[in-house]
Amino acid sequence: MDKLMETTLSILAGSKITLEIFAATLAMSLPLGLLAALARLSKIGVISRLTELYIWIMRGSPLMLQLLFVYFALPLVGIKFDPLPSALLAFTLNYAAYFAEIFRAGIQSIERGQYEAAKTLGMTYIQTMRRIILPQMIHRVLPPVSNETINLVKDTSLIYILAMNDLLRVARTIVQRDFDMTAFFIAGVFYLAMTAVLTWMFKKLEAHYGKYDF
């Protein structure tokens, strides 16, 4: 029983870095993703094209490779980060690319009539986006954003490659030390608990933003 408690506490300590990476990545990649979506939709060709290139690179290569690149390859050109900032940079750029495509699709799904109504009422582009388009977009993109957010919880386990002791790496260390699979089960329960909380939160958000739909 003591051993079970000890294992659980170790894994709990490992969840701290998991949750840090998760929360910081989400907080940075959502706004960056929105900016990238607007840039991708920009009428200025070069901005749109460059954003497309960025999205292609981030979605087209493994997140693991991006982590390794930031940590091991960037120092070769004189840019050196500690493991945590390296992980945050790679995660944020990667997730922002996925969010950008979700937001772009969401923005494009809003009927042209909404823009026209806002325009004939004299609203500027920024007012139209902020007051009319984005509030409706958020409601429509919540399900795919929820998907990505849940993916992010699990993707955080990749940071073991930068020798950070996240939830899964702690569990694996214990399993390899004790030849006892219990730690894996506990780790699984931790991930499920986190995603359960997220699922519940997104349900609440959908209900909040959906109050005008019938």
Partner: protein
């Protein structure tokens, strides 16, 4: 009534406007004027360019040639063979003098009826909520939907939504109202309430340009009717002239089909 209008201020002066889309010529040189308090109704078969023409008046579509003047100010004019649009404050001022009602209502679905009315005055004109609130509530009473002020648009019938859309446009206090087939998306039993609201607006001498298929409305409310076909004005005149004694074969054929 006729006389006061024919001497009234020139609200719209459209000269020789042309519009091409990638695949088709839509407008071939349309010219007309609208004076203060006048109700101009534009009729014509589908694809005749009447909606496009209306959308050229407030720059939802840009013209390729010609000029559009709103209360003496140029929205668009030809300079050395190319069309130049007003810019900045001047453009905002011109567009701000026109309100528009769409076939698909285009209410903001995430806002209540009242919020739909408050939005533009507060965001665009920077009015305080307490300044615009009584105006908005009065407009909702006028269109008979005050009791729906806290409902979301999805809860309303099409006719109710369109009346809210009219009130929303009026909340910006426009000098000219443009209606783009305002009853075409409505079930027949709901068109009456929208036409009634428009009739009341006309009775208050609002300057209106209405694209519609409602011939009875055109006949009763219009001061002048334009019949368009294939991107041209085929014939125009008072409702008595156009419906009573159409001159052109094209007009006669269209009216025979409609009535």
């Amino acid at each position: 009534m006729e006389n006061t209008i024919s001497n009234g201020e020139l609200m719209l002066e459209v000269k020789n406007i042309h519009k091409k889309f990638a695949d088709a010529d839509v407008l071939h040189g349309i010219s007309f004027t609208v004076r203060r308090g006048e109700v101009l109704v534009i009729i014509g078969p589908s694809g005749s360019g009447k909606s496009t023409m209306l959308r050229c008046l407030n720059r939802l579509e840009e013209i390729d040639k010609g000029s559009v003047q709103v209360r003496g100010e140029y929205l668009a004019k030809e300079v050395d063979g190319s069309t130049v649009y007003a810019e900045g404050d001047e453009l905002r001022h011109i567009l701000g003098s026109m309100g528009m009602v769409f076939q698909q209502f285009n209410l903001f679905p995430h806002m209540t009826v009242l919020e739909n009315l408050l939005e533009a005055p507060m965001q665009v004109k920077k009015m305080k909520r307490e300044e615009i609130l009584p105006v908005a509530e009065e407009l909702l009473r006028k269109v008979g939907l005050y009791d729906k002020k806290d409902s979301y648009p999805a809860r309303l019938s099409g006719g109710q939504q369109q009346r809210v859309a009219i009130a929303r446009a009026l909340a910006m206090n426009p000098a000219i109202m443009l209606f783009d087939e305002p009853t075409s998306a409505l079930d027949p039993e709901l068109t009456g309430e929208v036409l009634k609201t428009m009739r009341e607006l006309a009775a208050e001498h609002m300057t209106m340009v209405v694209v519609t298929h409602e011939m009875a409305f055109a006949r009763e409310v219009a001061n002048r009717v334009i019949f368009m076909a294939d991107g041209n004005i085929v014939e125009q005149g008072t409702p008595e002239e156009l419906f009573g004694a159409p001159k052109e074969e094209r007009t006669k054929a269209f009216l025979n089909n409609m009535l």
